[in-house]
């Protein structure tokens, strides 16, 4: 390692190897990360709470473990962050809201217990849209994009995405109900995985919509994301399998290539990566999903009543404590008939059957992750812009199928563009392995240092 930046942006494998051979210590790395957070968080606003004391204590423990020759897992001594709706015992967990501003859980979420058991170093709780739903609450303010600090990092896991992209941690946990891991990961040029529904425990994660919520990893490469995913599940993983792209069949989801919202630079980058895959011998063919256009409305018809049920007491007792747009979206859920919610749930099974039929002909479905590069502000979930932003991610929340985003290029102004890969139920590690192969295929677009 020749510079601090090399250490801050190294892979988890590289840092772990340096820990094991004694060239670097978890305390040194944690101090470096905390110094970078102190320098950049006033600009990025990626963290709501920085847990410096706890992080240094965990790093010292990790250092002793390495000296004793008893490493605990791939994340041992690795600084990570958690979206601030994941319960952490003794550390306030705000969900980006005024309502939970002073909430200090007494018990860790399941996934926190699992990550802690691997010896990870928690450096802080990351910023998010209020309750992962509405808009950013003015008490916290937006998270800004490390690639252009006049633009949003995306929502709702924007703090996690910005922290990873800016070298403020090596990986972070996010949640995704309509695209909230993949959209900010795309805007920030990193990897984000929405796992198969149910793969990661949500016990201790504040819900937005029980039937659509997922927790997953954000990282700077697919292997690092795989390590965090395996830790979140407490299923040890060695290395991702090596993939020969020529052996896999890719479907291009034609409905998601166009639309008035699609920026030309995004389409151009997507077409370019398809050409590179063909050059590598991969087989690509178009796929179509019947009645996919209904997914935008179905997604909101599921989310809105579920979110409203969760917030039923607070919306009556403390309506002014919500950001105005969050309040309006919660009210919307009370104005929809129950049968519409049930029919939207039925549509999810119908839609999944259509995707699984396509996934008999191909192994992976490709599309752009978002139709545009990071905008200057997050659009409201309800409305045309919000629907367009989540149009390519929401179907995989409805179906529960795993979906991965990784960077595949840059716009003329130098902003990252995401490529989305989706697969069959429980194909999460396969998607990450294919993503790692695509990273090898596109070394020029794998972000290095963001300053």
């Amino acid at each position: 390692m020749t510079s601090d930046a090399d250490i801050l942006f190294a892979s988890i494998d590289t840092v772990g190897a340096l820990y094991r051979n004694g060239e670097l210590s978890p305390v040194e790395v944690t101090e470096l990360i905390l110094a970078r957070i102190a320098a950049l968080n006033p600009t990025l606003n990626a963290f709501i709470t920085v847990t410096a004391d706890q992080a240094l204590s965990a790093a010292r423990q990790a250092e002793q473990d390495f000296h004793r020759g008893s490493p605990r897992g791939r994340l041992h001594g690795i600084p990570v962050a958690l979206k601030d709706l994941v319960d952490t015992a003794g550390i306030r967990t705000t969900a980006g809201s005024r309502i939970l501003a002073d909430h200090v859980p007494t018990v860790n979420a399941d996934l926190v217990r699992y990550i802690n058991s691997e010896g990870a170093v928690l450096v802080g709780k990351t910023n998010l849209l209020e309750f992962a739903y509405g808009i950013v609450h003015p008490d916290y303010g937006p998270t800004w994009n490390p690639w252009d600090s006049t633009r949003t990092a995306g929502g709702s896991s924007g703090g996690s995405a910005a922290a990873v992209a800016a070298g403020l941690c090596y990986a972070a946990v996010g949640t995704d109900t309509g695209g909230s891991i993949r959209i900010p990961a795309s805007y920030c040029g990193i990897v984000g995985l929405k796992p198969t529904y149910g793969l990661v425990s949500l016990d201790g994660v504040f819900p937005l919509s029980w039937s659509l919520d997922h927790a997953g990893p954000l990282a700077r490469n697919c292997q690092d994301a795989a390590y965090l995913l395996s830790a979140m599940r407490m299923r040890p993983l060695e290395k991702l399998q090596t993939i020969d792209l020529a052996e896999w069949r890719f479907g291009i989801l034609t409905e998601h290539l166009g639309g008035a919202e699609m920026q030309p630079a995004v389409r151009k980058a997507f077409d370019a990566v398809c050409d590179r895959l063909r050059s590598a011998g991969a087989r690509l063919r178009p796929v179509a999903i019947p009645h996919l256009a209904l997914a935008d409305g179905a997604l909101l018809t599921v989310i809105a009543p579920e979110a409203s049920a969760i917030h039923a007491r607070w919306i009556k007792e403390r309506p002014d404590d919500y950001a105005p747009l969050t309040r309006q979206q919660i009210e919307l859920g009370f104005a929809l008939p129950a049968v519409a919610h049930v029919r939207a749930q039925q549509y999810r099974r119908y839609l999944t059957a259509q995707f699984l039929a396509a996934l008999e002909r191909v192994d992976v479905i490709l599309s752009p992750t978002a139709p545009w590069v990071a905008p200057h502000a997050d659009p409201a979930v309800v409305g045309d812009e919000g629907a367009a932003e989540a149009r390519r991610t929401g179907p995989y929340n409805l179906t529960g199928l795993p979906a991965l985003t990784l960077n595949c290029g840059f716009s003329p102004e130098g902003l990252p563009i995401g490529l989305q890969l989706a697969g069959r139920p429980y194909a999460d590690e396969l998607l990450l392995a294919i993503g790692a192969a695509i990273e090898q295929l596109l070394p020029e677009v794998t972000p290095k240092h963001v300053t």
Partner: protein, 69 residues
Amino acid sequence: MPEIATIDANFICQIARANGLDLSLERAEALLPAVRDLLAVDTQIANLHLQALPAIGETWEPRGLTDDK
């Protein structure tokens, strides 16, 4: 359920009240476009005639395709 085009703020107040939330007419008015849009999608979903297709459980269970599990 009235025709979607005739749904007004009064209707939204009534359904919200039935669901446990009192809304002013002004706040109900602000919800009108979204409610109409979502009910229009619901009408299209209803026209798929999904009948007894389950509304709960793992989404891929109706086809039983879990070969990667």
